[in-house]
């Protein structure tokens, strides 16, 4: 059980690397979908464990919500937005991929050093989970910074939230209602961002963030 969770949290980190090395918007969305799927599997495993050991179905319900929202609905929403809005295939990133991957590896290292100081408090496995989740958060943030298209920023934000969810799930977790509330908040945020991307496309004729530079100073 522990090794399974170890492996799944590692897979979430690897999938964020896969995200960084993707070149096209549809591959970002697929990478995010895969990451959410792994997260759902981890939640399912924990949920079943909780159900049999403590008799609480809450994590299992959370797993169902994660599947419905993050694996099915949000990628579909992003894909429809992307199809209606983007028709040019152009270079989307400021940094080329090998350098991005190296910087992400550096971010993982940074997380390790930061958590190293909390050694007495976090036991081995917990430190592992924290490190992976925090690295995913930083990688999501990095992804948001280095993409030129608005949808790239939305996907980066979603990956950041995925990282937080992993941390909430694999450490002592958050109260169940709060987790649900966070999911609903996330869904609303993505819907609103999607609507805004439409408006941006209407007003600016493209979703290139570089064009949004009129307000300065």
């Amino acid at each position: 059980m522990e090794t399974c969770l170890d492996f799944l949290s590692l897979l979430i980190l690897v999938s964020s690397f896969v995200l960084v090395s993707s070149k096209r918007i549809s591959s970002y969305i697929t990478a995010f979908k895969m990451q959410s799927l792994v997260l759902a599997v981890a939640a399912g495993l924990l949920g079943i464990h909780n159900l049999f050991v403590e008799g609480l179905p809450d994590v299992l319900i959370l797993c169902v919500f994660i599947v419905i929202l993050k694996v099915v609905y949000i990628p579909r929403l992003l894909r429809t937005t992307y199809q209606k809005v983007e028709y040019r295939v152009e270079k989307d990133f400021f940094l080329n991929i090998p350098i991005s991957i190296l910087i992400c590896a550096g971010l993982v290292l940074l997380t390790y050093f930061c958590l190293y100081n909390l050694e007495g408090i976090l036991s081995g496995h917990l430190r592992f989970y924290f490190m992976n989740s925090l690295s995913v958060v930083l990688i999501g943030l990095f992804f948001m910074i280095t993409r030129k298209k608005a949808i790239g920023q939305i996907v980066g934000f979603l990956v950041l939230e995925n990282g937080m969810f992993t941390m909430a799930l694999l450490s002592y977790g958050m109260p169940f209602i709060i987790d649900l509330g966070i999911l609903v908040d996330l869904l609303t945020a993505v819907m609103i961002m999607g609507m805004l991307v439409f408006r941006i496309n209407e007003t600016f004729e493209s979703i290139d963030i570089n064009r949004l530079r009129k307000l300065r100073g």
Binding site: D6, L10, L13, V18, A105, Y112, G124, M131
Partner: protein, 316 residues
Amino acid sequence: MNTVLYILIQLGVFVLLAPLVNGVIKKVKAFSQKRKGPPLAQLYYDLSKLLKKDCVISDTASWVFTAAPYIFLVTTLLAALFVPVTVFLQPFSFQGDIILAIYILALGRFFMTLAGLDTGSTFGGMGSSREMMIASLMEPALLVAVLTLGLHSGSTSVFAIMHKGMEGVPYLFHPANILLFAAILIILLAETARIPVDDPATHLELTMVHEAMLLEYSGRHLALIELAASVKQLFFITVLANLFLPLEVFIHTDIHTIALILGLGLYFLKVMALTLLVALVELYTVKLRFFSVPNLAAASFALAFLGFIQYFVVGR
């Protein structure tokens, strides 16, 4: 006495098994395309045919051209000696022998590159420069992976790493190992010139990397190089098989000969399984544009690096 036996068995297995691996890969690819494909022993027939033929050597070639095939074969076989086919054979091993093996392979590659440049043909030079670039990109990943394995088992000798693997399942499913397996798989694809790095079945010289260096070779030289390339492929597969899947832990018998035979049988099965894996990867990916190969190298490095970090976090 033991050493001589070891060398004989090791070399024999490698030289005899290597062409079969190639045959299996081609057969699997043919089946997926609903063809019958060449017979499994095709590379054996090719090698015996080539050994009987004459060599045609260009006038402008120097001694490097004629010496390179021999050096390539010798270095590959020498490197293969460091990776025992089964843990029941007593090899000559010492600290750092895996790193020595990697750099002996690099020596062979160096001479092949020179030979590609030697004839003065454009395609040879192009293949050489590409081969060098890919090799230099893949090297950090390979070293980080190997060093992590060494750290994990306390020594960088292959035999010691294999012995550590005999501890069983906790070692196998350590998260670091899974990542390193993936990293070394990508390096295997790059070093043995397989899709997604280089298509071995292509006839378009502009897309060749490894084949371009061999364009000028014929006769017994070509036979030696083909054999050496397949032995190098088997070397990497053996690394994957024996360092990451030490299934010999399931053999519990005291009689050494029976253990040896069972070990060899298990090795054969592992190699076939991994060959199947390589063939499947070749089927389901496409050849990358050459300037996208650094992306693949960076991905492999990231995986190896993550394996390294995970080893530190989770501990021994």
